[in-house]
Subunit: 344 residues, 3 copies
C-alpha cells in the first residue's frame, strides 16, 4: 500500500482531492478497477467509466478537473500509470542470495546483490553485474558477460561469449547464441559452416519468451539499445537492430539484415536477408520486406509496399470475381457492335 | 497385454468373434498394424485394409458384421480406439515419488501421490493437487496453484500466480505467465508497463511444446476448459478463450481478444487484438481475423472473410494475367470500332 | 593458432606464397577480416575486398593467381573455408566428464568420453554413444537411444523412446517427442488420442533452437539423414523427411506429410497434412503447399504454385486498381458506341 501523494510525486502529478488516501494497487477503468486501486483515463469518456468502478483515484490529463474520484493530473496519463504501476510490481525472482544448488565455475565473477536461483549453471569466465537476477535452470555459457540490474527468467540458455548490457530483461525459455543456419551444399550433403561470432544485447533491451537469437557467422548479431522483442521471434545470424526497435510476436528477420532505429515490426511479420531497413519504418502484421526500405516508410503486404498502395490493391482484388463477369458481358457487347458494323 | 473383452467393456462394444484373445497394443489399418494389435476402421474400405494387416481385432461401426478379424462394434470407432489406446499408453513420468534433488519451498503444499522429477523447482506458496506429475527441470513460481491429475513435462516454466486446473497437460519448454508486451513510447524510449495480472488455465486443457502464454496486464489471460493448444502458439496478455477451442501450431492471438466456445484456428493463423470472436468459428490455415466475427462463421484469408468468398477471390485473381491481355485486345477492338464510326 | 600449410592440407589446397605463416582464426572479406586471419573470396571482386583487410591469407578459386596476400587455391572456396573454420571452432561443451550433479538412472549405458553437464537428467534404459555431449539441464527420457558424436545443447527435452543417430546437433530449448496433436471431437469435448509412436532423428541431422518435433500417433516421425532444421520449426506427428532437406526458421509441416530428398522450405513456409512432396522441391518463403508436389518443382505462394506463375499473378494483381478504372472508362465508351449505332 502506498500513499497517493507519494505516488503523485513520482510522476510530478497535481492532486485534486485527498492526497493522504492509501492506494492498494492498480486497476483498469474498463474492466472494473477494484476498491482502493488507482487507474488512468486519457479521455473524459474513459474517465466516466473509471468513475463507475471502485477505484480510489484516477490519473488524468490536465483538461479533466472534476470527478467523484480523487484525481492526479499529468501530461501523459498512460506513462504516469506505467510508472506508478511499477511501485506495485512484485519482484518474485529477487532474493539477493545465491542458491547453494547453483553450479558456478570458480573463475566466474558475480557482482553484489546478485540473485541466483536453484539449478542455474554459470560456466567458466562469466561476469555478472550487480543486482542482476539469474532464474532457475538458466545456463550462462563460457565467457558470457551480463551487466547490472538484469532479469533472466527460468530455463533461458545463454551460449558462450554472449554479451548482455544493463537492465536487460529476458523471459523464460529464450535461447541466445545458438548457431546461425549456415551450410555449403555439395553432392555429399550440406557441410556445416562453423558459426564463430556471438550475440550482443545492448542496455535496456527486453526479450520475450522462447525467442531465438543466433550468434553471428563471423562478427556479432546485435540487438540495439532499448529494443523490445516479443515472444517466439527469430533473429538470424548477423542481424543488427538499431535502438528502440519493436519486434512483435512470431516475427522473423533473416541473416545479415540491418534495421535502423525505432523500426516497428508488427506480429507474424518478416524481413528477407542481407537488407537495409531505414529508421522509423513500420511494417504491418504479416508483412514481408523483400528489398531495402527507406526511412519513414509504412509498409504492408508481401512483398511489403506502401501501406496505402497495398490497401488499394487488396480492396481492388476483392472485386475481381465480379470484374470477370463484367468483362464477359462487355466482350459480348463488343462482339455485337462489331457484327452490326460489318452488316452495315 | 489386455484381454479383448475387457477392452470392449470400456467402450460398450459388441464383440463378433473370440473375446478372450489378448491384445498387445494398438495399430494403424493403413500402415500395417502389427501382430496382436487392435485397430479401427470407420468404413468398409478401411476395414478391408485392416484385414490385410496382422492386427488381431478391428473396431468398426455397427454396419460392419463380417470379417476375417475379430470385430468390436461401436457407435464411434475413432473415439473407441482413442479410449482403448489409452489403456496401452505408457506413463513414463508417473513415479509417485518426490525426487530428492527437487527444490521445494517449505511453504509449498504438495498433494498425495504427486510425482516430482529431478531438478524441479517449486517456489513459495505453491499448491499442487493429488497425482499431478511435475517433470524434470520444471519451474513452478511463487503462489502458483496446480490442480489434480496434471502432467507438466520437462523444462516448463510456470511464472508466479499462474492458476492451473485439473487434468491439464503441458508439453516441454512451454512458458506460462511471461510478461505481456506492453510499453508507453516517449521520446526517451519505450517505457515498460508492468504486467500485473496472471494466467488461468481451466480444467482439461492441453498445451503443446514451446508455447508462450503471457500474463494479463491487469486481470487474467484465460484459457477455457477443454481447450487444446498445439506447439509454438503465442497467446498475448488478456486473451480469453471459451471452452473447447482448438488452436493449431504456430498460430497467434494478439492482446485482449476474446474467443467464444469451440473456436478452431488452423495452423499458422492469427487474430488481431481487442476483438470478439463468436462461438463455433473456424479460421482456415494462415487466415488472419482483423475484425469482430459472428458465431458460426467459417473464414479464410487475410483479412479473413467468408471462406467461399475468399476462395472465389483467390481463384479469380489467378486469372488476372490473362485478363490483362484480354483487356488490351478489347481496347484495340474498341478503338477500331470508334474509328470506323467516326469515318462513317 | 595453426600453420597455413597444415590448413591447406586439410582442404587439398595449393599455396601461393609462404605456407609457414601462422593463422589465428577466420575472418570475413567484406567485413574487415582482422590481423592474421584467413578468409575466402569466390570472385576477383571479393578478392580485392579481401586484399584491403588485415587478413594473412585468402582461399580462392584456381583462376586467381596474383595477390598481396598469401593464397590457397581450391576448387570450392566456400566449402574449404567452412572446413578450415572448423579448426578454429571452440567446443565449449566438450569436457569429457560426467558432472556429479547429473542424475543418471542406474540402467542407463553411457559411452566413452561422453560429456554430461550439470543438472542433465538421464532416465531409465537410455543409451548414449561415445563422445556425445549432453548439455546442462537436458532431459533424456526413458528408453531414448542417442548415437556417437552428438551435441545436445542446454535445456533440450528428449521424450521417451526417441531415437537419435550419430553426429546429430540439437540446439537449446528444442523438444523432441511431445505428443502429436490428435483428438476425437464429441459433444462432450475433444477426447485425446494417445500418441503412441516416437521420433527418429537420423545421422548428421542438425536441429535449431526451440524447435518442436512431435512423436507419431502410431509409428514414427522421421527426420532423414543430413537434414538441417532451423529455429522455431514445427514438425507434426508422423511427418517424414527424406535425406538432406533444408527447413528454414519458423516453418511448419502438418501431420503425416512426407518430403522427398533435398526438399528446401524457405522461412515461415508451410505444408498441409497427409501430402507427398517429391525430391528436390523448393518452396519459397511464406509459401504453403496444399496438394501433392512433383519432384523438381520450384513453388511459391498460397496455395503454392509454380514460382514463375505465382510471380506473374502477383505482378498482375498490383495492376488491378488501375484496371478497374480502365474498365470503367471502356464501359462508357462501349455505351456511347451502342448509342451511336442505335441512333443511326
Amino acid at each position: 500500500m502506498k500513499r497517493l501523494k507519494d505516488l503523485a510525486e513520482i510522476v510530478g502529478g497535481n492532486i485534486i482531492g485527498d492526497g493522504d488516501i492509501m492506494i492498494v494497487g492498480v486497476g483498469s477503468a474498463k474492466e472494473g478497477a477494484s476498491y482502493g486501486t488507482i487507474t488512468f483515463a486519457e479521455t473524459e469518456e474513459i474517465h466516466k467509466e473509471a468513475e463507475k468502478t471502485e477505484a480510489a483515484a484516477v490519473i488524468v490529463p490536465k483538461t479533466i478537473t472534476k470527478s467523484s474520484k480523487t484525481l492526479v493530473q499529468v501530461d501523459n496519463p498512460r506513462l504516469a500509470f506505467a510508472r506508478i504501476a511499477r511501485e506495485f510490481m512484485p519482484k518474485p525472482l529477487v532474493t539477493g542470495e545465491i542458491h547453494p544448488t547453483s553450479v558456478i565455475h570458480p573463475t566466474a565473477v558475480i557482482g553484489e546483490d546478485v540473485s541466483i536461483h536453484p539449478y542455474a549453471v554459470i560456466d567458466e569466465g562469466v561476469r555478472i553485474g550487480p543486482r542482476t537476477v539469474i532464474g532457475p535452470g538458466v545456463y550462462v555459457g563460457k565467457g558470457v558477460k551480463i551487466g547490472a540490474d538484469c532479469e533472466i527468467h527460468a530455463n533461458v540458455v545463454i551460449e558462450y561469449e554472449t554479451r548482455i548490457g544493463d537492465r536487460v530483461i529476458i523471459h523464460g525459455g529464450t535461447v541466445l547464441g545458438s548457431d546461425g543456419y549456415g551450410f555449403v551444399t555439395t553432392k555429399e550433403g550440406h557441410y556445416k559452416i562453423p558459426q564463430l561470432g556471438n550475440v550482443i544485447i545492448e542496455d535496456d533491451v527486453e526479450i520475450g519468451a522462447n525467442v531465438t537469437i543466433d550468434r553471428g557467422a563471423i562478427g556479432s548479431t546485435i540487438i540495439g539499445r532499448g529494443t523490445k522483442i516479443d515472444n517466439l521471434v527469430h533473429l538470424a545470424h548477423n542481424v543488427e537492430t538499431g535502438p528502440e526497435c519493436l519486434i512483435v510476436a512470431q516475427s522473423g528477420i533473416a541473416g545479415s539484415t540491418k534495421l535502423g532505429k525505432r523500426v516497428t515490426m508488427a506480429g507474424q511479420s518478416g524481413v528477407f536477408g542481407h537488407l537495409k531497413v531505414g529508421d522509423y519504418v513500420t511494417l504491418a502484421a504479416r508483412g514481408v520486406i523483400t528489398s531495402n526500405v527507406e526511412s519513414g516508410s509504412f509498409l504492408s503486404g508481401f512483398p511489403a509496399i506502401d501501406h496505402k498502395q497495398n490497401y488499394k490493391i487488396k480492396a481492388a482484388s476483392r472485386r475481381v470475381p465480379e470484374l470477370l463477369k463484367q468483362i464477359k458481358t462487355m466482350e459480348k457487347r463488343l462482339a455485337e457492335l462489331e457484327k452490326k458494323l460489318e452488316d452495315k
